[in-house]
C-alpha cells in the first residue's frame, strides 16, 4: 500500500455535505469594519500604520505617473536606476528623464510594479506574476514602488477578485521586509525592500 493510500484509509470517508458546511463557516465573518464610501481614506490610514509604514502619493492621471516617480526617486533613492516590468501599459508612458535598469541593482535600487488590487482593511497590495510581471525584482529592490488604480481598491481581503487565470504566484504585500528576530526589536529591510511607496492613481 502506498503512503497516500495508507493515509487516506486512516482518515476514512466523509459524511454529510462538506461544501454546505464549509460555506456556512463563512457566514458574516468577524472582521474590521470598513466604510465603503471611504475606501481610499481607510487604505491611506492603514498604509501609515507602523507595521505597514508605507508612503502614499495620489496621482490624478496616468500621464503624471513618470513625473511622480522621478520626484520620489530624486528625493529618496541615492542610487540611480529603476526597474520597470515589461508591462505594455506602463511602457506606453513617457519615462524619458529616468534612468531605467534592465534588472534590479543588487541591494540598492528601486523597482516599480502594478498591483492587481489593493485592500482598505489591511493596506495590502495584491500582485500577480505573469509574462509581463516578474516577482523577484519586488523582493530584491531596496525601494519598492507600487501603482494602485483607484478602481481596484476593495474593502476586505475576501473582496479581492479571483484571478481569471491562476497565476503562478499571487502575493499580498502589507509593508516592507522587516524582522523582529533580534530581541524582538523591529528592523526594516531584512532581505528585501526597506521602503514602500504607493502611487494611487485616479
Amino acid at each position: 500500500m502506498s503512503a497516500r493510500e495508507a493515509i487516506l484509509r486512516r482518515l476514512g470517508g466523509n459524511a454529510g455535505d462538506v461544501a454546505d458546511e464549509a460555506r456556512a463557516l463563512l457566514r458574516a465573518p468577524e472582521r474590521p469594519p470598513v466604510d465603503p464610501a471611504a475606501l481610499a481614506e481607510t487604505f491611506a490610514e492603514r498604509l501609515a500604520a507602523p507595521s505597514v509604514a508605507a508612503s502614499l502619493e495620489r496621482v490624478p492621471v496616468a500621464q503624471q505617473l513618470p513625473a511622480a516617480v522621478a520626484r520620489h526617486l530624486a528625493q529618496h533613492v541615492p542610487m540611480p536606476g529603476l526597474y520597470l516590468p515589461p508591462d505594455a501599459w506602463l511602457q506606453a508612458l513617457d519615462w524619458r528623464g529616468i534612468a531605467l535598469d534592465a534588472a534590479v541593482t543588487v541591494d540598492g535600487g528601486a523597482a516599480l510594479a502594478v498591483a492587481t488590487a489593493a485592500v482598505a482593511e489591511t493596506g495590502s497590495l495584491v500582485l500577480d506574476t505573469s509574462p509581463t510581471a516578474p516577482m523577484l525584482p519586488n523582493f530584491l529592490a531596496l525601494h519598492h514602488l507600487v501603482v494602485v488604480r483607484h478602481e481596484t481598491l476593495v474593502a476586505h481581503l475576501e473582496d479581492i477578485p479571483a484571478p481569471l487565470e491562476q497565476p503562478r504566484a499571487r502575493y499580498w504585500i502589507t509593508g516592507v521586509s522587516g524582522t523582529t528576530d533580534i530581541e524582538g526589536q523591529y528592523v526594516r529591510g531584512a532581505h528585501g525592500p526597506r521602503f514602500l511607496h504607493v502611487l494611487l492613481l485616479g
Binding site: 465573518p29 468577524e30 495590502s124 523582529t180 528576530d181 533580534i182 530581541e183 532581505h191
Partner: protein, 463 residues
Amino acid sequence: MTAGFKARAAEALADPVLKVAVERTAGTAETKRAAAVAAFEDFEAARTRAAAIKDHVIAHLGHYLEQFEANAIAAGAQVHWAETADAACEIVLDICRRAGAKSVARSKSMLGEEIGLPHALAEAGIERVETDLAEHIIQLAGERPSHIVWPAMHKTREQVSTLFRARHAEPHAEETIAAMAQSARRHLRAAMLGADVGISGANFLLADSGAVCTVTNEGNAELSVVPPRVHIVTAGIEKLVPSMDHAVHLLRMLARSATGATLTQYTTFYTGPKRGADLDGPEEMHIVLIDNGRTKMRDEGLAEMLRCIRCGACMNHCVVFRQIGGHAYGGTYPGPMGAVLTPALDGLAASRDLPQACTMNGKCQEVCPVRIPLPTLLRGWREKSWREGLEPASTRGAVRLWAWAARQPWLYRFGSRLAVRGMRLFGGKWITSMPLASGWTRHRDLPAPQGRTFMEQYRERRR
C-alpha cells in the same frame, strides 16, 4: 530524557542572560498582541469561528487532501505523500539528488525541524542556507530553535553580535540591532540567490485551488523559492483549508496572535511551477504531504491539537516558558503546545515531565486563536502517564497514600491539622526550607499556614 528535562530546566533557571533574552521578545509580543486584540471587535467570536473551520477540515481531511492534490497536479505541481519523518526526508533528498543540488535555500518551517530535515541534508552533503534571520543565527551557533516564531529568542543582541563578527565576511561596524540585520542581509543575499533548490513549509494549503500559502515578515520565503530551479514544499496534512476565504479568516487570527499586525507583511499563494512565458519562478514545484503521527493524533484524542496554526501565543503567555525558555523542553516544539505535541511525536515515556511542567493557570487556552484546550490535553497526558505506570515509584506511592487517607475523613482531618501546625515550626510567615519541600523552597519561599485548617474554620463559623 525524563531526567533531562529537570536538568535542563534547572540549568535554564540558573541562566540570568536567558531570562533577559526571553523576556525582551515575549514581553513585546504580549503587549502587541493585546493591542491588536483590543482593536478587533468580536475577537472571541472570531476565535470560535477559527476553531470551527479547523475542526471542519480535520473531520473531512481525506476529502480535502484529495481535492488539493487534484488541483495542485492540474496546476503542474508534483504531489508526494509521506507517512513518517524519515520517509519525508527521503523524498526531499531524492528530489534534491535528481536536481543535482549542491546547495538549498531553506525558509524556516517548524515541520522541517520536526522531521529532522536540516540533519538529513547535512548527512547527504548538501549545503543548507537558512534564510530566516533567526534560523541563520541559530545555524551559525549550531543550536536548535527555542520558539516557533522567534527561533533565536534565547539570544541577546550581544551574543548575536559576537556570532556575526566571527562568521560574517563583512560584519557590522556599529553595535546596533539594525546594523547586525544589515550584516546578515549582505551575508545571505548571494548564498540565497545561488541555491539550486528552495525549500519552504506551508502555512495553509488551499483545497479548491491547489495553492500553497506562506507567510513571512522578512520576505525570505519568496527569495528562497523563486530563484532556484526547484521549489519543494514540506507540509503537515493538517494545513488544509477549503478555500481562500477560509484562509483569510485564519490569516487575520494568525497575524494578530503572533505579532499583533493586522496581516503579516508577505503573504504568498504559489500555484504550480513557472508558466511558459513567465519571467521567473521555479521549473518544478514539489509538495510533500506529511502525516508523521497526525492521523494517529486525530484518532487518539488529540484532534483539537491539529487546529494549531503555530502562532506562538501560548508560549509567549506561559509562565513556565517565560522562566525556562524553549530549549529546556527538549522537543521540536516548546511551550504549552510543545508539551502536548512532544509526547505524541517522541513518545510519552521520553517526555512525561513536559505535561507535568504546567501550572494549569489556563493562560495558553485563553490566548489561543483556535481555542485549543491545552490544559485539558496536558491533563490527558498526565492521566495516561499514570495509567501506563510511567510515574516514578515515589510519586505513585505518595499519591496512593494520599488517596487512601482522603477516603478516611477522620484520618484526613487529623493529618491536615497536624501538617498545618507542624509547618509553622519551620517559619513564622514564610518557610524558606523544610524537609520534603526542597523542590519548592530552593527557588522560592512557601507561605506558612496561618491559623487552622479550612474544615476547622468552617465548623467554627457554622456554630
